[in-house]
Point group: D2
Chain length 320, copies 4
């Protein structure tokens, strides 16, 4: 990579074209870079399991989540009880023989907490991954690239890149952009070789910061550390299957581009077909990786197959 004069619309467009994979797995493909995870790769990922320890990478889904409704009406999950202990106590179920039950319901924007972006989530110049137009996402949901199209996944080899550890800080500061060199450097420092089909989890530490400071601060749609536009090279060239981060939007905020909002969503998701995971809680994972002295594991993070959804909440598990 050479010195960049200006990361403007033209620059991003060049990367979009350079890293476009439309048709790479057939004209009808709706799985994108997840195709890199072959059965053989999954079998090798499974072989990483040695201690049987499971680490959850999800935030709790509740009213303490990061959403305030500031962005696009996204609110924290609203959990309501349809039947609870009071109903039992008051005899509301006395028509049932012996058994008593509780029941509940949730209302949640699909990106309110730990979630996968579907390939139908982002459009650029009127096109989503595969070149499909906006007419494929109506009030009835996405007719192409919905999250249910990757329902028989997402599982593979997970690799954590712990960037604060690499930079020698507790957490990265908002505005700090991660480059391809940084990703390569962290992988070298951690002694983990990245391979085709890997799911890469990139920790910035912003959730640690929020916990330490007792406030979500700018976490939701505000200033954040994250991937810079030039991280695209490393991610594309290494044939990464999916990228997950611990921030609201994966990318550094403010973006390190002029004229383009969230450029990596255009380059990686729309063009390279890479699913993005956001609001993953990587704090425990980072501690376990450091403790075990290894940054690779079996990673299983199945989205709910909500038909036509452009995202899905997920409970991702790292298994050591």
């Amino acid at each position: 990579m050479t010195t960049i004069e200006k990361r403007d619309r033209r620059y991003v467009e060049a990367l979009c074209q350079r890293y476009r994979r439309w048709g790479a797995w057939g004209a009808d493909d709706e799985r994108g870079a997840l195709n890199f995870i072959t059965p053989e790769i999954l079998v090798r990922a499974v072989a990483l399991v040695r201690t049987g320890r499971i680490v959850s990478c999800a935030l709790p889904f509740d009213e303490n989540g990061p959403q305030s409704g500031r962005f696009g009406g996204r609110h924290n999950p609203i959990h309501a009880m349809l039947q609870d202990g009071g109903d039992i106590a008051f005899g509301a179920q006395d028509h049932l023989d012996e058994l008593r039950f509780t029941d509940d319901s949730v209302t949640m924007p699909l990106q309110c907490g730990t979630h996968w972006d579907a390939l139908a989530h982002i459009f650029h110049k009127g096109r989503m991954y595969g070149g499909h137009g906006v007419e494929y996402v109506t009030s009835k949901g996405a007719a192409r690239n919905g999250i249910e199209k990757v329902a028989d996944g997402i599982a593979g080899r997970g690799v954590l890149l712990d960037m604060p550890r690499y930079f020698g800080v507790e957490w990265m500061r908002p505005g700090h952009a991660i480059t391809s060199e940084d990703l390569a450097g962290a992988s070298r420092q951690q002694g983990v070789e990245v391979r085709s089909g890997d799911i890469v989890l990139i920790r910035t530490g912003q959730i640690a910061q929020a916990r330490a400071e007792g406030t979500w601060g700018t976490y939701e749609a505000g200033d954040a550390p994250g991937l810079g536009v030039d991280s695209a090279h490393w991610i594309y060239e290494n044939e990464i299957a999916a990228v997950c981060t611990d921030t609201w939007g994966a990318e550094v905020q403010p973006n390190d581009t002029d004229e383009v909002f969230q450029p990596l969503h255009l380059i990686l998701l729309v063009n390279a077909g890479i699913h993005l995971g956001e609001i993953f809680d990587l704090e425990n994972l980072a501690q376990v990786c450091a403790g075990e002295g290894r940054y690779e594991f079996l990673f299983v993070a199945p989205p709910l197959p909500i038909t036509g959804a452009v995202a899905s909440p997920v409970h991702p598990l790292a298994i050591f």
Copy 2:
């Protein structure tokens, strides 16, 4: 097991007491029989993966699900778009540089589709698993035994027992109760030995019937094949960690007990601490197991950690 005169309230109560595990893993335990899945058992389960094939065991979450609202106000998922292709086409996002996005939300009873029952879902004589009273489940959710308490799971060795195959039928008829002998027989016939810590998936074929007949029929809260009360012996004695079925409520309907509704929910969930999975789609799994000639696999089915929830939708994966 001896001939049963009458399976009444007293009979079920005797089984509840005989199979009670409260305190077996400490007074504060909220994981129940999932404790049987030790790290070693998970490591051995992982070793079952040989071909890298993943089989989804979830129904699509959409308006074609089995719920009509007949039982307890449970409806199929309501998926709504917060932003869609039309908004993009009409310029609603033209304040953004280059990027355009879609966004969505869901409202769903947590047991509307493929789901885990939490240990806080069922009460008997005012007590749930561990002996906690109804006051622990309020409008704010479950303060004990909520689904988030098993968030770093649920994964282990999965074993499918394909009961229609065992009985030599396409699908079991509503009202047909599965016994302990049937479970043992199916396991023998399939050549799979059941062990402590297994997650057992029991197929009745009722989803196959619904598909063949083009209607959910009595699937929702109506007549169904399923586990009879005497299946409790085999499930308890084999130290099964969790039981999943392809029906609305796991148990045969009408129940084969007098005076007690859903007796296994009382015996197994409330007393033996066994999480129940319901509305699992086991049709593809049955075909793959028959094709591969083996009925054991790595099974990963992580509930969403919705704080205080008494159930969770789940996308269960069987990995071969």
Copy 3:
């Protein structure tokens, strides 16, 4: 009116043009025929009140409503408690001094029960009332003709036309189309003169039928009695301000037109700017009118000013 050869697309289009009022109250008008209700007319309507008797014209909003989700995902209201008596009993509010409270929430399609259609609800050839295009209704709601634009209403002189009484039947049969002659005849028979600015309530008796038969039957989006396309003449010429009926969709089903679904929605709502009220419960009203021997009253039916909504639930009151 002459004998009609064929009520086809061309016929309806002719009526659309003949009865178009776009611009009649200014290019920016968003109130349509409600403009006929002048303050003077409202003052005269108020003078109709003599006994102080109030008659509700709303169905209860609950799970017994007519919606099954068959049409467009419309379901009955989902009412959930955020705090209830059980929470109080269990001490969940013991941090409060003395006071205890209950609290609740609702999720409802705005047309699930008794409701007003906003002028933004219907489009014909890409245009709604006033000629505005589809781009004015996005995921954020209606930027033109939303229900909040008539928030300082809807009140005026109400006139009930009790069609089953006119026809001498208990209720009109599905498929029976009401004509302009019928409306004029009923008004004559009942001794009530219809005037400019009236809100006309047209009873078919379909709710009475549903109650008598204990089932909603075809009420929701199925066969129904109702207004025929030729009722448009009478409604337009009499300068009716709004039309309310006791059926799901106001119009006879199947429609008495070829090639056009719900033609009056096009003629009256889109072109003549007439708000339509649907699923109004006119059973008590009919009894009271018969008892009082008069079919006119003060009618107050204020929609909720939900910003950008294309309909609103309403509790309409007839005051005698």
Copy 4:
């Protein structure tokens, strides 16, 4: 009224007993002080209409409302489109002949905006109005005193008491408690005599303050001007049918009592059976009253008859 030493638990309890009306309209009464509005009173209220001018007293129901979720999970209305202009443009309704439609849905806590508290909303010492216990409000809603029980109302003579005008300020400051003397004084100053069966609307100006300052500030569950505990005398003795204010909770915040939260909710709603209206927008009304030189009008504010609801959104209309 004598000088008060201390307004503590005992003081409030004395007022609760003094002003208790349980049984005043029969043991089964669920309408409370609304019974004061006789048909004759409504007829006289109607006679107040002279100009036909309608003034809305509702806030818009949208995301700009006062709720942040801080109190009890109450959020602003969530409005979602089920079908919108984009769907029409993209041909999603091309199976329909000619007609195209939009459709929408709302999710809202029933007290998120302008609303009535039902008599089932508040409990004191385990009892609500009429003496009914907490067991009458379960997850299925209120079996007694639900808002649907006053469905054939609420309409009568409205009287605005414009307190900032009385005090000679733009708006009352948070913490300023309105007394019985203040209410009597304002009524005298405005030249309006209050009578049995009146619906009294009490303006504090807090909404004006929020608008002027561009923020809701402490409006939601925080410091506010409002009724002091000693306003109970005037309200009770004048046989007021219902009380509406322009604040979140009607009462001064912090409350002017020790040991009791929201004492008037206990005295007036629980004991005297008085429905409370909250978050009413009285700004336009105050201007119109001042302009017309009269503070009385026909007031129509029908709650939605949501079965078992403990509150209802409402669009109140003052008609002059």
